[in-house]
């Protein structure tokens, strides 16, 4: 591209042929006259012309080097052969490789040895917290406190067990999840019981945590007949079959008479998704170790 000629300088012919030079600036005017006001035909700033030229040059170089033009069934791929999708996967592999430096230690779920390695845990705990916040916090709360229908991870009440091995198993396969090896636990609906019986039962169950329940009563017999098989004698729990103890005030749906009535009417079937497909074995072990420590120190694993 040739340098622009100052086509409207006084010594050149303006394409209009119009000649009326402004005496102050020495530039041509456009020839238009708006009620006595005329407009200078100031030349285009040279730096802008250069910048425009550079952008043209840049685009040509880019066309040659990068994917650019569609050609029907494919496109010009450029000399560099860049593919952003491949680059992203490659970069992810690099990041993973760096992470494997310490994460690989969690492939082997020897949780006692892992927890004893303070240097490793100092490194791994922030990463575990990040994983927890991305995947678990939605239901179990950012500090592990749970909520209505979602278990508190800080207390000592566990339906399946709070040791890291058991937590890892729960994480892998979930509870009532679409996973062939999932843990299954269901509180059936007892809507076939008379409403009056359900009400008595609800009052009895609501009184269990406080120790005020009269076991030698009609409601106590109803409980022994219908509930004991899963919840243990007098609601003591501890059977590790997913049925909670009813004596420790840790029932996730609530244990007031109204909520128990609702539970008896419709049943409960809480779901914990399976994470075996989303997270690697090492990540699951890392989370299991983190979650079991949440339970131990009672403050969300954030020491």
């Amino acid at each position: 591209m040739s340098a622009p000629r100052p086509y409207n300088a006084p010594d050149t012919d303006a394409p209009t042929g119009h000649r009326e030079v402004d005496p102050v600036t020495g530039y041509d005017t456009t020839g238009h006259d708006w009620n006595g006001i005329r407009e200078l035909n100031t030349p285009f700033p040279r730096i802008v012309v250069w910048a425009l030229g550079l952008t043209f040059l840049y685009s040509v170089v880019t066309w040659v080097l990068l994917p650019a033009w569609p050609t029907g069934h494919t496109y010009t791929r450029g000399l560099l052969g860049l593919d952003q999708s491949e680059a992203a996967v490659e970069r992810l592999r690099e990041v993973d490789a760096v992470r494997q430096g310490w994460l690989a230690r969690f492939d082997d779920p020897d949780f006692t040895a892992l927890a004893a390695d303070r240097d490793l845990m100092a490194w791994a705990t922030p990463a575990a917290d990040r994983l927890y916040q991305d995947n678990c916090a939605a239901c179990h709360g950012f500090a592990g406190g749970g909520g209505p229908g979602f278990p508190d991870l800080r207390d000592t009440a566990w339906l399946w067990g709070g040791d890291p091995e058991t937590v890892a198993e729960t994480l892998r396969h979930g509870i009532n999840a679409p996973d062939p090896d999932t843990r299954i636990a269901e509180m059936p609906a007892f809507d076939w019981l008379d409403r009056s019986e359900r009400r008595e039962l609800a009052a009895y169950v609501a009184a269990l945590p406080t120790g005020d329940a009269t076991h030698d009563s009609p409601a106590g017999f109803l409980f022994a007949e219908n509930c004991e098989a899963c919840h243990g004698a007098q609601g003591g729990g501890g059977l590790m079959n997913g049925a909670p103890s009813l004596a420790d005030a840790a029932v996730i749906y609530g244990q007031d008479p109204g909520t128990v009535m609702e539970t008896l009417r419709v049943g409960r079937r809480g779901v914990m998704p399976a994470w075996g497909d989303r997270l690697s074995a090492a990540e699951i072990n890392l989370l299991a170790s983190y979650v079991s420590r949440v339970s131990e120190n009672g403050k969300g694993g954030r020491e």
């Binding site: 040739s2 394409p15 909520g147 979602f150 679409p178």
Partner: protein
């Protein structure tokens, strides 16, 4: 060159024509690949269309403007792959009309949301986001508990079928019944839904109550289907399967 332009500016029709030529280059570069899209984008064999219930949920997703804050496209960047999973493929949304990829993210991307959280969490979260995520700024959608209007589903499936979505006559004719049956796995129609849409669809009372078919059922069914329509993206990064 500048002189050419100077002259062109004086010929108004010539200038108009030149502007059209210049502007259309940008358009052609974007539009031309669409002429051959049938050959350049291959659909995975296992890609399934949305079920009528999921489709109804998708309509509510659009109605409530969820797309204004949530994208459904994992970008091909390493940190997105790390957080969300494999990047989105064009083929995944081949049956989406209109597609909801989006680029605005006030909330997180939802392309890989399906089966990540439990139905109960989605219900609690849609009713009152702050109940489960205290720091959330998402609006509450308490009215989703109202009954789902399924009357337009049949016509909607028929329309989508004309746009190339593989809904057959039986799917269209049974759209309303299938929507109901998907939320009632114990009902008579449930087997027919599985026969029509495949084993991989979720058959549950999504809102926790099999007695009523609500908008909540539809929205949760749709959210739980995101990223589960095909396994193809999961083969890219060689990770686990969905």
């Amino acid at each position: 060159m500048l002189r050419l332009h100077y002259n062109l500016e004086k010929v108004s029709m010539g200038l108009v024509a030149a502007i059209m030529v210049a502007a259309s280059i940008g358009g052609i570069v974007e539009i031309a690949p669409l002429f051959t899209i049938d050959e350049t984008v291959t659909l995975p064999d296992d890609l399934r269309p949305h079920t009528p219930l999921e489709l109804a949920g998708r309509e509510i997703y659009v109605r409530e403007g969820c797309y204004a804050c949530h994208s459904q496209m994992v970008r091909s960047l390493a940190d997105e792959l790390d957080r969300y999973g494999p990047y989105s493929l064009a083929a995944e949304s081949a049956y989406d009309h209109p597609m909801l990829w989006g680029s605005k993210r006030t909330g997180p991307d939802l392309a890989r949301l399906g089966e990540k959280y439990s139905d109960a969490w989605h219900v609690a979260h849609l009713r009152d986001p702050r109940a489960v995520v205290p720091a959330s700024i998402m609006p509450a959608y308490p009215w989703l508990g109202r009954p789902l209007d399924t009357r337009l589903l049949e016509a909607q499936l028929a329309t989508l079928a004309r746009l190339g979505v593989p809904y057959d006559d039986a799917m269209i004719a049974n759209a309303e019944a299938d929507a109901l049956a998907q939320s009632r796995p114990a009902s008579d129609g449930a087997a027919a839904v599985v026969a029509r849409y495949g084993e991989r669809i979720a058959m549950r009372a999504f809102d926790g109550d099999a007695e009523r078919l609500t908008e909540m059922d539809a929205v949760v069914a749709y959210l739980q289907s995101l990223g589960t329509l095909t396994n193809a993206p999961y083969q890219i990064i060689g990770g686990g399967e969905q």
